[in-house]
Amino acid sequence: MAADQKIPTPVPNVNPEVKVFWDATAEGRLLLPKCQDCRTVIWYPRPFCPACGSLNVEWIEASGKGTVYTYTVNRRGAGDLPEYRDPGPYVLAYVELEEGPRIMTNIVDCDPDSVKIGQAVEVVFHDTGQGTALPRFRPAGGS
């Protein structure tokens, strides 16, 4: 879990209805909302099911394992947020979780040029210091 935090770790804006998600990240857990009526796993987190309209949504804990759906090495800032004004090269990616959703994230703890579509990855958490952590991913089997 000791993570290389060279990449900026901005504090996310925490809307009240997704505070449970962000509280869990600080404890090293990745939660996913799941509709208890149609069983759809929901992403990004919302307090209702966009598939069936149900309000009967519960949090489940993700395995933290997935594969790279697509990625880019962003070699020249700046990102949309000011924290990314001059970050150096970093990998922005969509990772497809074992539970289904493709989520936006970063691939870390590896040479950016080594990342491949289809690569197996696992979650790590980068602490923002403000009661939240960003779920990022590293090549599976890392230590």
């Binding site: 900026p8 990004y44 759906y69 880019t72 090495v73 020249r76 969509y94 289904g100 959703p101």
Partner: protein, 383 residues
Amino acid sequence: MSIRGKAYIVGGYEHPDRVIPDKSVSQIHAEVAIGALKEVGLSLSDVDGYFYTGQLNMGGTATSDYLGLKNLTYLDTTMTGGSSPVFQIGHAAAAIAMGKCRIALVTLAARPRSERQQRAAPNPEASFEQVFGTNTIAMYALAAQRHMYEFGTTSEQLAWVKVAASQHAQYNEHALLRKPVTVEEVVNSRMLSDPLHLLDTCVVTDSGGAVVVTSPEVARDLGRTGCKILGHGEAPKHTNNGNVDLTFTGARWSGPRAFEEAGVSPADVDYASIYDSFTITVVETLEDLGFCEKGKGGAFVADGGLIARGGRLPVNTDGGGLCNNHPGMGGMMKVLEAVRQMQGTAHPGVQVPDCQVALVHGTGGSLGTRMGSATLILGQEDA
């Protein structure tokens, strides 16, 4: 109920400048509005429908005030990023067909080259995307990378989109970049966000543009019936509850809607303005509109496929967003070059002979992730 033949684009005006350090966006809106109306022999007081695309909060209302539009019976401030004007021309045609207005003014202006855009309150998805360092180029790069992985599309094929734009831009005296470039120059330009290079990206300009859409009666009175609106389709596309697919765009849905209403097919299209924020934008859009099979867009654009003289389909003959003009949101420039092609007023070096049917496609937002797509089909009076 259909808009087919119920409205015409009677004329338009593209701001001649590409760097505007000393005017407000409101002034640019005014200059393009007056320019477009003057071209067609109308004035601000004739306008009864106003369609605004720009950077201001409550911009449609504010700019109606600024322009002194006092006879408005219809106001639209649709914001779908760069595709907004293409959405709005469909809305204008529908409003005209319903009798809600007769003379619609559509304007776009922005100054991203000279001023940083202000950031609004965080959207609900921002905490799950922006914190990871998103930016516009990276979001399009994610789509390009997946398209290459699934279909074998190459950087050289993408580069041909830029090469064609640059071939066209050399004829456009207002284009920001007028020098033709080669495939080698594109793929050897600086890598910004893999696999997109500097020359895979559009220019950033300060500029604007406007068009006037009217009822058939007004178009006939003005003697400007050469650009009839045949069909229009629009569609948002988004992440689909965690099932995002970056290999296609909203054009997959907006295109068929527009073709069906127009009663034409891709084979009938003589000229196409295809939104070109990045080279990949054009490749995915051409596939989704049915100009080629899904996954074959790279081969379609390669080897001069989009060049006006001798290509498979003349695309973006003004030089497009890649070389001519892209003030952050370029949908208006796409409409304007199609109008020129229909009117026969494009540069002789790129004019399509006997242009009977033109297509305009606007793309706004992030390709494949969260975007607005709009397709507009124009025809000559007897089409």
